[in-house]
Symmetry: C2
C-alpha cells in the first residue's frame, strides 16, 4: 500500500525557485576574473538561469546532453549550475587544472555539446578546440568588451547571448533520477572517470548539508565558497545556499591570501570552505602582515576537506581566528559528503591532546552514508579505532558506477562503493584515513601506512617533501622505502632520519632505506604520483634484503 502524499520530484530547479521566491534580495557577490567585485542576488541568478535554459534550447541542446564549463566560481557559473541542470541537460564541470590532454580526453569522452569558459582559459580553449569534436559552440563567460581574441569555431559572448533571451521559462518536471551533472575524478591511474550525479542525489545531499552535524548552512550565513565549482559540486554549497537563501561570495580565480582575506573582511563572511593549500596561502599572507587581526573577521566556521587538516592549521584557526574547524572527508564519488568532524556532547569535557587527536580524525558518519571497513577477503572489521581496512560506503548520494560504464561494475556484493581508501573507525563512528589502498605497504601480512610515515618524516625540519613506497622484499613481501626531497640548504642523511623516526613510530614500520631526490612526481592537481615513483624504483634493491 502506497502513502497518499504528493508525488513531487526532487529537482534542482526547485532550489533556485525557492531562493528567488523567499530570498530574492539576498546578495551573490563575485570577484570577476577581470578584477572588480560584481553584485547580484538570488532573483538575478534565477532570471539568468532561465535565460541560460532558453539559450541552450536555441543552441539545440536536448535533455541529457552534456554542457561543459571551464570556469572559476562566479555568478555566471552559478547561473549555469541552475540553467543547465534545471532545463534537463547535464552540467559537466571540467577541471582546468588538469593537463591539457586530460581536458581534451574528458570533453570528448563526455561529448560536451557546448563549452562555457572563463576568459582566463581562452588560450587553453584555443589550443584544444581543434580536438574537441562534439563542441558546437564556445561561449566566453564575459561581456562584449572583454571578449578574447581567439580563433575557435562559433565563439559567442555569454552576456550578449543571455541578454537576448527571454527570462520566462517553465522548468520541466523531470524524473528525479535524471542525470543533472557530471564530474570526472582526476585519478592517479588510468584515464579520468566520470561521476554522473542525479537531481535526486543532489537534493538529498543538499538537505544533509543544512544539518548542524555537517555544515549547518542557514539563511543567516554568508558563505565564501573557495572550493572551485569544478570540484565535486563545489561540496554542494551552490545548491545548499539556494535552499536556504544564504549570501554567497564567489572569489573567481583570486585565491591568494590577500584576496581571500579582503573578501572575508569586506563581505563579513561567516563560513568558508576550501582545501588546506588555500588556507596555507592565507596564513602566509597573515604572516607577512602582522598588523592584521584575523579574529576581527568574525568568521565562525571553516570547512576543510580534500586533504587532511594538520594540527597547526586546526590550532591556528581556533586560536587566531576564533573559528571552529569543520573537517570532512569525501570524494567526487560521494557528492562529496562522506564523514564530517563534529563533536558530540560527550566531548564537552575533553581537552588537550585527546581532544586534538579526535578533531584531527576525518569525521563521524552522517545519516545517508553507511560505512564499513573490510579486510582483503571482504570481511567486516571491528570499529575499535585500531583495526584498519578498505573503506566501503553506501547511500543515496554515492556513485553506483562511472559514466559509460568505465571501470565496469564497481560496487561490492552488498552494494557498497569501495573508496580505495584504508581507514580505521572508532566506536563512535569517527573515521580516520590511514592510506590509499594501493599505497599501503604490505609487510609480512601486516599493513604499514605510507601516509603516516610521510607525515612523520615531513615533521623533520630538514625534509621539504617525502614519499614512501613499498619495494619488493624476499621475506616480507614488501618493505617501505622512504624517498626524500631535502629542504634547501638542509644537512641531512638517511641514518639521522631513521634515528628521528625510530622514536616516533613502531620499529617494524621503519623504512628499510632512505633515498634523496631533487623532486617527486605529482599529478596535475598536486597529488603525489606514486605510480610513477613505484615505476622509477621497481628494480630497487633494499640494502638488508
Amino acid at each position: 500500500m502506497l502513502g497518499l502524499m504528493q508525488d513531487r520530484p526532487l529537482l534542482i530547479s526547485s532550489l533556485i525557485e525557492h531562493a528567488a521566491t523567499f530570498h530574492p534580495e539576498t546578495e551573490i557577490v563575485s570577484r570577476l576574473p577581470e578584477g572588480p567585485v560584481h553584485r547580484t542576488n538570488w532573483r538575478g541568478i534565477c532570471l539568468r538561469s532561465k535565460q541560460v535554459a532558453n539559450a541552450l534550447s536555441g543552441l539545440g541542446i536536448q535533455p541529457g546532453d552534456r554542457v561543459g564549463t571551464l570556469a572559476w566560481n562566479s555568478y555566471r557559473h552559478l547561473a549555469l549550475y541552475y540553467g543547465v541542470s534545471g532545463s534537463g541537460a547535464v552540467l559537466h564541470t571540467v577541471n582546468p587544472r588538469l593537463f591539457p590532454e586530460q581536458v581534451d580526453y574528458i570533453i570528448n569522452h563526455a561529448e560536451d555539446q557546448v563549452l562555457f569558459f572563463d576568459i582566463g582559459f581562452a588560450p587553453l580553449v584555443e589550443q584544444l578546440a581543434p580536438a574537441l569534436k562534439s563542441v558546437k559552440a564556445f561561449i566566453a563567460l564575459t561581456d562584449r568588451a572583454h571578449m578574447p581574441d581567439i580563433q575557435v569555431p562559433n565563439l559567442l559572448c555569454f552576456d550578449e547571448l543571455m541578454d537576448a533571451q527571454s527570462a520566462e521559462y517553465a522548468w520541466p518536471e523531470l524524473d528525479e533520477k535524471s542525470a543533472s551533472s557530471l564530474c570526472y575524478t582526476s585519478g592517479t591511474t588510468g584515464n579520468p572517470k566520470g561521476v554522473l550525479y542525479s537531481h535526486r542525489s543532489t537534493l538529498l545531499h543538499t538537505l544533509m548539508e543544512l544539518a548542524p552535524d555537517t555544515f549547518g548552512i542557514s539563511s543567516s550565513e554568508t558563505v565564501l565558497l573557495i572550493v572551485p565549482m569544478f570540484h565535486a559540486n563545489a561540496w554542494g554549497t551552490p545548491y545548499a545556499a539556494a535552499m536556504v537563501g544564504a549570501k554567497l561570495v564567489l572569489p573567481g580565480p583570486h585565491l591568494d591570501g590577500e584576496s581571500v582575506y579582503a573578501l572575508m573582511r569586506d563581505e563579513k563572511v561567516t563560513f568558508s570552505q576550501g582545501v588546506p593549500t588555500v588556507w596555507m596561502m592565507l596564513f602566509q599572507y597573515l604572516d607577512a602582515h602582522k598588523e592584521l587581526d584575523a579574529r576581527s573577521l568574525g568568521i565562525r566556521r571553516i570547512g576543510i576537506g580534500g586533504a587532511a587538516v594538520s594540527r597547526g592549521m586546526l590550532e591556528r584557526f581556533e586560536g587566531e581566528f576564533g573559528a571552529e574547524v569543520v573537517q570532512g572527508w569525501g570524494m567526487t564519488e560521494t557528492s562529496p559528503i562522506g564523514v564530517i568532524s563534529k563533536l558530540l556532547p560527550k566531548h564537552d569535557n575533553w581537552a588537550g591532546e585527546e581532544l586534538v587527536k579526535l578533531k584531527l580524525k576525518q569525521g563521524r558518519g552522517v545519516w545517508g552514508v553507511e560505512l564499513k571497513i573490510v579486510d582483503e577477503s571482504g570481511q567486516a572489521l571491528p570499529w575499535d579505532g585500531v583495526a584498519f581496512g578498505h573503506l566501503h560506503v553506501r547511500g543515496p548520494w554515492i556513485a553506483s558506477g562511472y559514466f559509460r560504464r568505465e571501470g565496469g561494475e564497481v560496487l561490492d556484493q552488498e552494494g557498497f562503493f569501495p573508496t580505495g581508501d584504508v581507514a580505521t573507525i572508532d566506536p563512535d563512528g569517527y573515521l580516520q584515513l590511514v592510506d590509499r589502498a594501493k599505497d599501503v605497504i604490505k609487510s609480512g601480512g601486516e599493513w604499514i601506512s605510507s601516509i603516516d610515515l610521510e607525515n612523520t618524516a615531513n615533521s623533520h625540519p630538514g625534509v621539504a617533501e617525502s614519499a614512501v613506497i613499498g619495494v619488493a622484499h624476499p621475506k616480507w613481501q614488501e618493505r617501505p622505502l622512504l624517498v626524500v626531497v631535502k629542504r634547501a640548504g638542509a644537512e641531512l642523511d638517511g641514518a639521522t632520519l631513521i634515528d628521528y623516526l625510530s622514536t616516533r613510530i613502531a620499529k617494524w614500520w621503519l623504512p628499510d632505506d632512505v633515498v634523496f631526490v631533487d623532486s617527486l612526481p605529482h599529478t596535475a592537481t598536486g597529488k603525489l604520483l606514486k605510480t610513477k615513483l613505484r615505476e622509477q624504483f621497481k628494480d630497487y634493491k633494499l640494502p638488508l634484503a
Copy 2:
C-alpha cells in the same frame, strides 16, 4: 539519461539503524505512566523495535496492515514508531483525547489489526473493545506487574511479548513510497479523515527538521518532546532525533508544569516542543513558585505550534527563560512543517514593536513547501502582507488526499493542497494566519477575520473567551456577531465592548451585535466548535438589519 548514483530507498528503518550505529549510548529518557523515570538508549530502542517487528510477524501482520497505538510519549511508543513502520506495516497513532465514538470510528475505519495502549487508557479500551471489529490483539504497554484488569479478547503484555522475541531482524527494502503511518485529523466538520504518510515523505520532512532555518536538531541536542506522539508524527521529532542521535526526553502523560519543569532541569533539556496550552501550565507553575529561576534551566529554544503564539508567551520565554521561540504553522496534512518563524539577517537591527510583530507571524516558507494565497476564483494574490486569501501548499511531505479517498479529490488544478486557512504572506515570505476559511465573515465582498476580532475582544479584561461568527445580513451578505463568556465577576455590557473594539479595529469590522453566554462549544481537542455555534445562532436577527 539517468544519473549513476546508488538507488537507495528512503526508509524509516535507516534512521534507527543510523542512531544505533553512531549513537548507541545516547539516552532516551521516559517518564512512565506509572511515575518513575526510565532510561534506555538508541541501541536499546533499535533492539526493541526489531523485537516489535518480529512480534508483529508472529501476530500475522502483513505489509500495509494498520497497527494502532493509543499512547503517550515513551520509549515503548518510540520502539513502535520504528518497529511497525520499519517492518512495512502502517503505524496508526490514535488520539486518545477524541470522543470515544470518534476513537471507535477511527480504529474501525483504519481497520487496525492490533492495538497497543497505555495502561491509563485501559478503561477506554475496555469500553470500546466490543465495537473494534478488526482488532485481533490488545497489547498493554507495560510490564506484567502493571497489567490492567480488564476484559478484552486477546489481552497481551508488551514487555512480556517483546522479551520473548529475537532481536535479530533484517529490515525489508520497501518501496519508499509505501505507506508508513496514518494519522486522522480531528476535523470540526464531518468524520475524522486519515492522512497516510509514506517513508519518503517522512524522510524528506525529517531532513528538513535538521535545518537551522527550522528546528535545527543536532546530536548536541537534548529534546523534551511534549507534543504527543499521536499528533502529526509528533512534529517529526522522533525521526529527526534518530537521524542525528539526539538525546530524547519523553514525558509520558505528565504534562503538568511541575513535571515539565523537573524534566527540563534534571535532563538539561536544550530544546522542547509543545502547544501553547502546555506552556501556559508551565507558566502557572512558575507563577506559583517564585523561587524558581527559569533562566537557570539553560534551555535554548522552544518550538511552538498548534495554535498562535501570544505576545505574552513570546516575551516570557525570551525574557524569563532566555530562550528563542521557534513558532511554526502546519497541520496533520503537512507532516506537519509548513512555515517556521526564523529571522533573516536583515532583521538584525530591527527592534521593538516591529520585531515583535514579525516574530508573532506564523513563519517563513522553507524549501519543500510551496505556498500560494488565492481568492475565491483561484487567482493568486500578491505577497504584500496585506492581501489575504485561501492558503494552498504543495510539496513532497504534503498530503495528496485522504485514506480511502474520503473527501474525494482535494488538490487544486496545480496540485496544491487547500489548507482551509486564510492567510497573508509578506514580501519575505512570512505567512500570517488570518482565519479558517469557513470562519471568515464575508461582508459585502470583503473578508473580516473572526480570529482577529476574537483576539481583540479577548484582550479586554472582562472577557474570558469569545467567538465571532457570521450571521446572515440582507444587505452585506454576512455581518459579525460577537459571542462572549464574561470573566467571573466582571461587569461588562455590549456597548462597552464595542466601544473598546472601535479604537482597535477598522470601523467596518465592528460586530453588529454582542451576545453574552455561559459557555462556548468546543471540540474534543479544545478548539472552538463554530459549526455548533452557527447552528445555535442560525436564526439570529441582527438589530440593525
